[in-house]
Symmetry: C2
Subunit: 564 residues, 2 copies
Amino acid sequence: MEESTAPQSKKGAKKAEAKAKKEALKAQRAAELAAAAAGANGNLEDDPAKDNYGNSQTTTPGFSQDAEEVEIRSLDESYNGKTVVVRAWLQKSRIQSAKMGFVELRKGGNWTIQGVVMASEQEPVVSRRMVKWVAGINPESYVVVEAKVTKPLEPVKSCRVSGLELHITKCFVLAPAPTMLGLTLGAASQPIVNFSDEGARLADADTEKAAEPTAEAAVPAASMLTHLDNIAMHKRAPVQQAIADIRVEVKKLFRSYLEARRFKEFEPPCLIGAASEGGANVFRLAYFGQEAFLAQSPQFYKQFEIAGGRERVFSIGPVFRAENSNTPRHMTEFTGLDLEMEIKHSYTEVLDTLEGVLLSIFRGLQERCAEEIDTVRAVYPSEPLLLPEPGKEVRLTFAEAQKLLREEGPAEFANVRDDEDMSTPQEKALGEVVRAKYKTDFYVIDKFPETARPFYAKIDDAGTTVGDGVRVTNAFDFFIRGQEVLSGGQRIHDPVELEERIRAKGVDPKSAGIKEYLTTFQQVGVPPHGGGGIGLDRVVAWFLALPSVHLAAYYPRTPKRLLP
Amino acid sequence: MEESTAPQSKKGAKKAEAKAKKEALKAQRAAELAAAAAGANGNLEDDPAKDNYGNSQTTTPGFSQDAEEVEIRSLDESYNGKTVVVRAWLQKSRIQSAKMGFVELRKGGNWTIQGVVMASEQEPVVSRRMVKWVAGINPESYVVVEAKVTKPLEPVKSCRVSGLELHITKCFVLAPAPTMLGLTLGAASQPIVNFSDEGARLADADTEKAAEPTAEAAVPAASMLTHLDNIAMHKRAPVQQAIADIRVEVKKLFRSYLEARRFKEFEPPCLIGAASEGGANVFRLAYFGQEAFLAQSPQFYKQFEIAGGRERVFSIGPVFRAENSNTPRHMTEFTGLDLEMEIKHSYTEVLDTLEGVLLSIFRGLQERCAEEIDTVRAVYPSEPLLLPEPGKEVRLTFAEAQKLLREEGPAEFANVRDDEDMSTPQEKALGEVVRAKYKTDFYVIDKFPETARPFYAKIDDAGTTVGDGVRVTNAFDFFIRGQEVLSGGQRIHDPVELEERIRAKGVDPKSAGIKEYLTTFQQVGVPPHGGGGIGLDRVVAWFLALPSVHLAAYYPRTPKRLLP
């Protein structure tokens, strides 16, 4: 008994300690804020530099007329010797002597520069009090400085702009940070140690230590809960800035590839009147006396656009899954990159387009986001995504993939069937076999058996069957590193065939949502078409081999987390 | 009593008639579909052209080797004399004589060309049976034809490609439309007569007539309900294609203006843990034992991005309002175009950016979408949006606007106050006064009184007051044609000031959502910032002066409509 209670009381003590710390932090913060609000910079009247520093309530304290306002990222040799005004986060500060202090300023995600504040009796006057004050500014305060750009004796290795430094002559804090941060930039820049949604917050003792400004030397990591509880600091970490930039670029690459091919964007609704794609994982809400549902995919709406004559469409937007899965692979809200297009000759046109857009995204990222990828890899090390050489893309049929797994995969998969869907462990194992054999992390599995596909999947025209006479479909999945990132295929456009398949899957063609879907194909002639859906969060997470898809999202939504 | 029952029984008879018609249509459709599914084109064995026409189940029936596949929009003089393959909707068909028939083919929204099918005994053989068959294809079927491009004797005025026509030698129906459409293209192309969500469907007697193929001469209009019940035909109407294209362009213009100014896109969540911006109009849903809400705006999340060091952000995504308003101005789900940015010197930087982006959208549309705008105006006539000359943008303070309304507006507004929010009729009246005085439909009203703004609006630094000592804010609205399309302003970044304003507005700073919001500003220094939100649907609808915002949406969501 004692053994089991001991850790609990330890835990209790830790809890109480954490609480006390929290209260102290709160009281201190209140005092600081009150002082800041009062506008008192505490400068003495006899300080000859008293107008050159302090807390400011205005966005623009007085600066020299000839000072140019500039972003850190824009500072280059041409600014040497000039006087500039810079707004930035102060990320570090230290006093060197009574006459000299150093700060590090950061802006634009990861652009940093060293600032020096040196006492001077000549104009512009910098008093010793000012040096002390500037060197004592709390990290993560937002400041505006006036400074002369100079070349340091040696490059400042710790800063991205290493060939220049700022000799600060004025410094105002526009928005003060508290003395103790709930999550320091150093801790926020470490790999996250725990992605669990429960309990991790209090176990997070290392973070409490990190919060003390003296603990700079040891930079421990924090849990995802602590990160999200300190959302601003989580986002300020260069690794998260880089992930966010990569995510933006994925969307841009997706959009530009498709727009160049005459695809038109549209917006499917989130609120829908029927749980048309399976009722189990759907969110329901009261809607003016009826029931509404949150869309699990834009599938039906993409097809309505095709029926409505839009020819080629894509959408980028939220989709929802009410799945009570607390894993690093799942979220309840995520972003879908979807497309749908008319088919002229064969559904391989759809496959080509989707393969093209994903390769364009992966190659585009490697080209345009090399720096951001390096920033991420410095925190979360990973191998670059191995892509096929142009013209050597790997497309296996489902049956070929299963055969490969039986013959070259682990023994436990020696009996996988060609007419049954793959499990996640099978997919992962296949990823390794494919990588070894074809030297690529990116590949397509085509011709899934009808048993593994929804009713709208078009059956293969040639009547091919696998296993016990199960027909195959013109439907496929795309994988990276053994994990599915895209599902797609040709859809049934003929209403008779569609109704037959709806019934065969045990769905009532007259049920809500299905009825309106089927009706659309009966009302007009709808051309042959197909498409696919890409999970944006997964593309980002698995391209970078992140330990959790939650890191790729701006505000991850899990069964336990809705705030912030 | 008799007078009141008479219309009711008439209604009953109409209802029964409509039902019978529906049943007949359904039976006919079933027979047609069965025939199509059987693959029977009904061609006689002795027909020398029997392989050149019919229903096809394959996307690519046999065509000549030298035939080039081409889109209607790409057909120009250079194709004269060439043999081409064209896929399109057949929108009209008529028989001229036993030897000649005409069709109209449409693709790419509004690109049309005339097709001629003429009996010929020479190769390629076109039989009289084929002529009759092609001229009898149901409108809105999807077809693929092989044809020789020729110049007509006279330009074909009814078609957009008027200088060429297609001499059809092969014609296959890939997806047949039914004989009777629930909504013809002609009816779908008329102005919508009724936007009500209830009862209008059965009152829609004109549409029933329009469904008969012989009723072509008289093209009556239909209600919005009929349009949405026939979603594919609603979308195929050139006017809706044009509106959709304009909507796409608004988003592109918004995005490109901001990206050129270093704004970064992000995605705020839809699922949130608190009804933080007023509980009355928020959708609630069960969420794994807790309650979730659908976001009414991305406001807090835009600010978290700023706190998180993203500097300038924008988002394009759905927002939700659980408002039981059945008006042409309201929807329960719509698309927000939002931005937020750091402020350096003054909140007018935000105002300048928002004014710039909206003017860039309006001028961009006038330039890039002139044809689409004409297409819309042909159905919904309107005056072009009057824009200010560059440098002569109109910005009034709220007090100036109220004074203008008192002095130059209708008598009923002679006593409007400077410290009370405007009503919708006031806004409309002001729009007319401004148009008369300043020759613009686009203007800004700045410095709203604090009584008309939420707690996060920054109070004017100068301490200006209006009316009974009410302070004004650095917050503004933008209007077009007297209707608000944008709300924005500077936000409070100082946590002490923010908490004070939260309390002053009677909100509990410890309530869910508010607590996490306030905490973020206490955890780190957040720079001065501001932004605004634009209603995409409203921008499209009011730029075009459409009779309802529902016309601008892809799938309008109202308290009574969730399908399709």
